[in-house]
Symmetry: C2
Amino acid sequence: MSPRPQNSLKRISAKLGVSMTTVSRVLSGQAGKYRISEETAKAILDYARKENFTPNPIAKGLRLRKTNTIGLVIADVSNPFFASIASEITHTTRDHGYSIILCDSQENLAIEKQSIELLWNRQVDGMIICPVGQSSEHLARYADERRRIVLVDRVFPDIGLPYVSSDNFSGGKLATEHLLDHGHRRIACLQGLRGTITSQTRVKGYEAALTACGVPFDPALIVGDSFDEQGGYLDTKLLLSTSPDITAILALSNLLALGALRALAEEKRRVPEDVSIIAFDDQPFLAHLSPPLTTVAQSARAMGGAAVKILFERMRVADAAGDANKAGLLLPVSLITRKSVHQLS
Amino acid sequence: MSPRPQNSLKRISAKLGVSMTTVSRVLSGQAGKYRISEETAKAILDYARKENFTPNPIAKGLRLRKTNTIGLVIADVSNPFFASIASEITHTTRDHGYSIILCDSQENLAIEKQSIELLWNRQVDGMIICPVGQSSEHLARYADERRRIVLVDRVFPDIGLPYVSSDNFSGGKLATEHLLDHGHRRIACLQGLRGTITSQTRVKGYEAALTACGVPFDPALIVGDSFDEQGGYLDTKLLLSTSPDITAILALSNLLALGALRALAEEKRRVPEDVSIIAFDDQPFLAHLSPPLTTVAQSARAMGGAAVKILFERMRVADAAGDANKAGLLLPVSLITRKSVHQLS
DNA sequence: GTGAAAGCGCTAACAT
DNA sequence: ATGTTAGCGCTTTCAC
């Protein structure tokens, strides 16, 4: 009933009249090292090729304690930003001969914890985690494994785990400065999932820009508790009723901006004439919106690529002596100016 | 150096003074079946819980020839449509205790083939494939494995593999009829990656609607060879110069529609007054475009969910007698009317 | 009620 | 230049 009557070293060695060891050696490219005769090697290689044989990675994994898999836990793959990270990670790990076991925590801390346990349990060789980002204790517990884990996007610099993220502080600051430069003073902030580290950092940048400009910081202008479109809609509605004097909105995700747009249209506020908008995470469609949105762009692919690079570097020196210096990387962000910010006279 | 001094049945049995067999039985819930004494069972259970022990799935996989993993090969995870499929598949398989090994073929047939080989080789228990869709021979070779493979989205009904997709023919027909009803006769079609089965099927629906309405079918109106924004832009530019008399465009993906919008704006053609547009694959942002786009919606999540359901059903009866009847499923699509189609007088 | 032993497919000492 | 053997961690037949 087994679909492919699985071949094995044993079967091959029997068929060819050599020992398993020899077959194993030849097939793992160690023919030279063990001076296996040309003809023996060739016979084995030919036969393996003909039969399309590859050693069973499960058995190999058991024996070698190495599975050639990387665990990836992502907060939400259906979010295009995370999907791009995942895509890049999948491609680059593939190039190194590793497969990805994918877990999606659905922005849920409990699932995130379980997933990490599950992946270690499955003996992954390393792990890339894009955490929900509201809590880090469960991650700090893995500081010992630091060489085999890297955090991405929602990172915690102080728990001893290598990480790569965007320079979110600068992002928040850059966007706010842009608004300030255009004469805006009452600037609201749609912060997304409350307590998420990326949001918090961006909000800090927002505050810093305000303070540097001598504009009083009004906590009532910071709202929201999710990153999705509906959240942006609801929070903007609320904002418009409690603080009708706002002239600009900084939306910490593009989905949030979409929701804001919807609420604004419903309330008959024109964009950007009545209220300006800047969104986070540039996406192709943002240039086609009405109006085209000014955004803070960060490179998801660059983040994914960097994470893989760091992980492999660390795995390679896993048993080297010294504690490699803390590998934290913050990728630059950039402001993409389009037509959603109005110059106030 | 090993990060977690891995526990094992052997270690536990030694510690507890019982045999590995007993530990194994208790831990796999077979205590009752083998009449293992309450106290022995409890001791084992308690200890395992305290030590946070779970049997090594690699060893288990080797022994049982079952890895509790499902291989997922997706044409492009960074495409939100596919990302949603992947997301749903990840969640539902997780509920059944399976993990996902993710491969992204990058719309590349060679990588797709390799990935399928790789996954079988890794002893996945089943596989969900969203193929590039331009060729099916390499898939047909797996007809024997039909019970453990299901095709998704870009499917081939005639190669003996179970599948789930959208009713693309109706989608193409529905959209075209809508255009026809609004008085359009010169309707262009941005077909995306040439030869992809979903495209071909939608184009057939387009043709059928045209024919039924007595409108001559003009091959020059069908253009394109990729699903991305740039393709949509280029092809629309081309179209506008070769067939300037078109009044409507049917874009077979939303990225394509975005490109068309850009080209149209550049050529100073107003949407929808000068040319109407209908796009495929509804996404939240399409409602916020200028103008809001009328689209053909298909449910990526429903497709993913259905694929998992079919796969598990088939895996469950894998060794049942009769050949289950061909499991092919076509999910309904729907037209979402917004403001990108103009009524011609 | 419990255990000993074989074996899943592989690699790495340790022979020769 | 090649083979023998043990063992990775687990389940399962067979034995008591």
